[in-house]
């Protein structure tokens, strides 16, 4: 019993030093523009279907761990509309620990 209490006391400072104490950033999905058909959706890691879809998109079990640390800060775009999609533009805005804003719009073209 004493040992486990002692271990707990060690664990908390250890977490603080290792950076585990960071508050997780708030990940927000902005409301979709009204022009976007309802079949096009964005999923974040908090959605139940995110992980199975990720496993399907990164098929190699050897490579999946490389992406795991960044999964909380990733999204999956799903196309359940009636037309294939050729290109998607995602905007990302990050507020860092100092409160500075940075934003960019990655672009990828997709052959449907």
């Amino acid at each position: 019993m004493r040992c486990s209490r002692f271990a707990f006391l060690l664990l908390v400072p250890g977490m603080l030093v290792s950076g585990v104490s960071y508050a997780q950033p708030k990940v927000v999905i902005a409301p979709l523009d009204k022009s976007i058909p309802p079949g096009v959706t964005i999923l974040s890691q908090s959605d139940a279907s995110f992980e199975p879809l990720f496993d399907g998109l990164v098929v190699s079990e050897l490579l999946r761990p490389l992406f795991r640390p960044i999964l909380p800060y990733s999204i999956i775009v799903q196309n359940n509309s009636t037309v294939p999609i050729c290109a998607v533009d995602i905007s990302v805005e990050v507020v860092d620990a100092q409160g500075h804003w940075s934003s960019w719009v990655p672009y990828m073209e997709i052959n449907s």
Partner: protein, 161 residues
């Protein structure tokens, strides 16, 4: 992205690039730089206060473009498709003519003129350079085939809002 399909967007470009390469080839090896480039990235995002994702634009296969488009992608896609159409048509007009004429045309379009280029002109130049390369590597028929693809792709995507 086909119907029912999905697409993975990690927050950082290095990861995104890797994810796209895996989409094309599920077992593609990571670039050697991937490991060093991503070494500290998760910590950068761990320490952020907030991260907001938005769907800025979507181009559908029927040519319909939707979204708030803060990144002005509609213009970019329009220029790219227009350049593909122009380039394809111009090159295909050399079908049945001498190879030297086609070479001369591609060299003229691909050579950079003085002064800044519009995005459309840059696209034309890039396409001509790509066709030049294809012609050198695989011959005039391959270049004409690629030009045909440009034209067909652009014609099949009448982009509009």
């Amino acid at each position: 992205m086909p119907l029912g399909g999905s697409l993975f967007f990690p927050v950082a470009g290095t990861y995104t690039e890797a994810a796209w390469r895996l989409r094309r080839n599920a077992n593609a090896p990571m670039r050697p730089e991937f490991y060093t480039e991503t070494q500290n990235l998760p910590a950068v995002y761990d320490s952020a206060k907030s991260i907001t994702f938005g769907l800025d634009g979507v181009l559908f296969a029927d040519g319909k473009f939707v979204g708030p488009d803060t990144g002005h992608s509609f213009e970019k896609y329009s220029d790219e498709l227009a350049a593909e159409l122009t380039s394809g048509k111009a090159v295909l007009s050399f079908r049945g003519q001498s190879v030297a004429d086609l070479e001369e045309h591609l060299a003229w379009v691909a050579s950079p003129p003085q002064g800044p280029l519009s995005r459309y002109d840059s696209q034309l130049q890039g396409l001509a350079a790509a066709l030049q390369g294809r012609m050198k590597q695989k011959g005039p028929d391959a270049a004409l085939g690629a030009a045909q693809s440009f034209q067909e792709q652009a014609s099949s995507l009448p982009i509009r809002r």
